[in-house]
Amino acid sequence: MLCEECRKHQANVHVTQVLNGERTEKNLCEHCAQAMGELDLAGLGSGSFNINNLLAGIMSMEQGSLPLKSRGMACATCGMDYRRFAEGGRLGCADCYQTFSRQLEPLLKRIHGTPTHQGKLPSRGALSVNRKRHLSRLKGELKAAVEQEHFERAAELRDQIKRVEQEEVQ
């Protein structure tokens, strides 16, 4: 087999590349393979691979399958419409996350796996988030304690959960 690049030398290198889940295969001669290695890497740096282009690509794909109504949807706060977002890959304001939540949800899943924030919470105004997190952690522990038949620990946890829930009501 001849090299797919130069079509002069015998192809003796088989290159399989998986980039963002997309698989490409090539049969190259040794010389071209080496050159390609460098070419590909430079390509990574200079825009052929660009996360925003990629994102815009995914979104315009999804746009095709959206009902007409949501294609024309616009954010009441900043005026950003879905078409513009799909083209540019950028939202206009914080409220866009609410406006386009139905369209964003599958996209966020695809990018991040689980689109539920873990980690740092803002020190201001995050009290309710903190409490919610705390509760769900306690409930998880309670379930585990019951399964492992650690009933004393389970009783402690049950009381703790009650206290936190009461605080929330107040």
Binding site: V15, Q17, V18, L19, N20, G21, A33, Q34, G37, E38, L39, D40, L41, A42, G43, L44, G45, S46, F49, I51, N52, L55, T77, C78, G79, M80, G88, G89, R90, L91, G92, C93, A94, Y97, L104, L107, L108, I111, H112, G113, T114, P115, T116, H117, Q118, G119, K120, L121, P122, S123, R124, G125, A126, S128, V129, K132
Partner: protein, 347 residues
């Protein structure tokens, strides 16, 4: 004539493979549209609110630079020192606050209102996270950031939502490039939720074998875990690079030694040195240090990596130079700095 950024300043770096570590946090002010959709009045409001706060509150103090007031060559120098992005350099509403120690820079009105970044020499991701986090704490005490119960910190691009955190390391991997392992390795990185790109690439080649590896996923994973994952993968890559380097040296020591010392000969004698030649030769010296064939402080090599860039070259030396004049000046700087440290090494 010195750089401002801590990852190069003072030649403190000591790791020949991991050049630098960076943690960046994206934040937006509540109630103001993201930079892409805000009015210029809103842009000025972001600048005045955040810049003032940083200048007054920060323990080390920050110096604020406004893009609109800076000559192009100085903006370019900040890009080359990795203190700002190329995008910010071209934004008239943009500004950057840089801490006096050069470790933290806060970009204002880039893609998000704030991009807090900490950049340190070597593999120091935990420290970079702590540095960026404490800057975030400081700002958060006074500012309300856009935050969503489920999605976390809200950002202009959904790829940054959640922690808003991008942690990255810059790696020098010549042995993996030469043994043609690099392509396979960079492709495998995707499976760990990481991404890689060549740095200093121009046209057809990735110059100087420098790569950047960063986390791709920002939501659903805590900051400390992002740091842990990246660090674990980087340590593996570092070990791979070392192993391949040792194999190379064992197989052809004389040839590699010859390459390294030829590079040193050129760099300590050349009268006209363009930046891509400088990058390639500096990479050879770094390889020599990494392989234990050459005794030179790594910090000087990191510093030169930045000092040879056209923007820094002109800013640090306070002159405007045409291409040939730059190549002459570059040769002079590299020669002088290397001879100086070599003299010290001999004593």
């Amino acid at each position: 004539m010195d750089c401002r950024a801590k990852w190069v300043a003072g030649g403190e770096a000591s790791d020949p493979i991991v050049i630098s570590s960076r943690v960046r946090l994206a934040r937006n002010l509540k109630g103001i549209p993201f930079p892409g959709a805000m009015s210029s009045k809103e842009g000025s409001e972001v600048l005045s609110r955040v810049a003032k706060l940083l200048e007054q509150k920060a323990p080390h103090g920050y110096e604020v630079f406004y893009m609109a007031k800076m000559p192009q060559v100085e903006r370019l120098a900040l890009v080359e020192e990795h203190l700002i992005s190329y995008d910010l350099a071209n934004k008239t509403e943009g500004a950057v606050a840089i801490s006096r120690d050069g470790a933290t820079s806060v970009m204002l009105n880039e893609e998000d209102h704030l991009r807090i970044q900490a950049l340190l020499p070597g593999l120091s991701l935990e420290e970079a996270w702590q540095t960026a986090n404490s800057c975030d704490d400081l700002l958060e005490a006074e500012l309300d950031f856009a935050f969503h119960e489920d999605y976390g910190y809200l950002t202009a691009c959904p790829t940054n939502v959640g922690t808003g955190m991008r942690a990255s390391v810059m790696l020098h991997l010549p042995a993996l490039v030469e043994s043609r392992q690099i392509g396979r390795l960079l492709a495998a990185i995707g499976q760990f939720g990481l991404m890689a790109r060549g740095l200093y690439g121009e046209g057809t080649e990735a110059k100087g074998s420098v790569f950047q590896i960063s986390n791709q996923v920002t939501c659903g994973i805590a900051e400390e875990e992002i740091v842990r994952n990246l660090k674990a993968v980087v340590e593996q890559i570092k070990a791979q690079e070392q192993a391949h380097l040792q194999k190379m040296v064992a197989a052809q020591r004389l040839k590699i030694e010859d390459r390294v010392y030829r590079a040193l000969g050129l760099l300590t004698n050349a009268r006209v040195l363009d930046s891509s030649e400088a990058m390639v030769l500096l990479s050879e010296l770094r390889l020599g240090v990494s392989a234990g064939l050459l005794s030179l402080p790594v910090g000087v090599l990191s510093e030169l990596l930045v000092l040879v860039q056209p923007g820094v070259l002109q800013t640090v030396n306070k002159v405007n130079l045409d291409a040939l004049e730059r190549d002459i000046k570059r040769g002079e700087i590299v020669r002088r700095r290397l001879l100086e440290v070599l003299g010290r090494e001999k004593q």
